[in-house]
């Protein structure tokens, strides 16, 4: 009976409180990373670009890959790539093994921006450590990792 359907019923109000807290923290995190990235000299980027960089970082990706990762159409992903290429954060290379596709890879400036985002994220997490303690934050991350979906990263709304 334990772990059965009736055991996992949660008070709706508790679920809403948990959801609200999670979304508030997520929104705050996004905003503060964005502010940190801007403060480090990358003022021409939005949070969505950061999520794209995260997908491009390990070896590059195609426009279609990026579209799937961001949960948008490939046209939207193509426009986003056009923008970050124009601004010097990435470049298009011929794809080895498929002449239709192009491999989008980060430039030096793209990597610098990625580092800036990591620093900004570490600052925010550092604040959490000050509030909760190191072990608690570690436990938080471990639990979130276990319930994180594998699917595309989507905006909160």
């Amino acid at each position: 009976m334990r772990q059965g359907c009736f055991n996992v019923r949660v008070q709706n109000s508790d679920a809403m409180a948990l959801s609200a807290a999670l979304l508030a923290v997520a929104g705050d995190l996004t905003q503060r990373i964005q502010e940190g990235v801007v403060a480090r000299g990358f003022a021409d980027l939005r949070p969505a670009h950061g999520f794209a960089f995260a997908r491009l970082a390990p070896g590059g990706a195609t426009v279609t890959d990026l579209a799937a990762h961001l949960g948008v159409t490939k046209q939207a992903a193509s426009q986003l790539v056009e923008e970050i290429v124009r601004k010097g954060y990435a470049e298009r290379r011929p794809h080895p093994g498929d002449a239709r596709a192009r491999l989008i890879v980060l430039t030096e400036r793209g990597w610098a921006c990625t580092s800036a985002a990591e620093e900004a994220a570490a600052e925010v997490v550092g604040d959490w450590v000050r509030t909760l303690g190191e072990g608690e934050v570690g436990a938080l991350g471990a639990r979130l990792a276990r319930i994180a979906p594998g699917g595309p990263i989507r905006p909160a709304w």
Copy 2:
């Protein structure tokens, strides 16, 4: 020295992994609540409306209150109110004590939708309980509540 500046330094990569997990969970949560609300018969609403309902629920709010809560201009909040009023989820009442303002309150249908959202949220949290166990989810909620900002609820990007 404990809890000092150098103690709360976090590995940047760890901070990014934690941030990514948090945002992935938040995006997934939002999407699944949205799907649950639609499945319960409220197909003409977007996630943003749910956040508005959360602010309207306890006693109503003005357009300006709502704008601050959602982190948008009051014009945008006004448009959103116009929409939920037109669709029958809320109504405008004269504000007691300020003839300029209007008190936006949920209708019966608005309350029904709020309940649907709570049920959908409880379903998602129920899944987490199945994965982590009840105590772990409770701890998760407690920690998130301690680091949740008081400011406006914002989209993840």
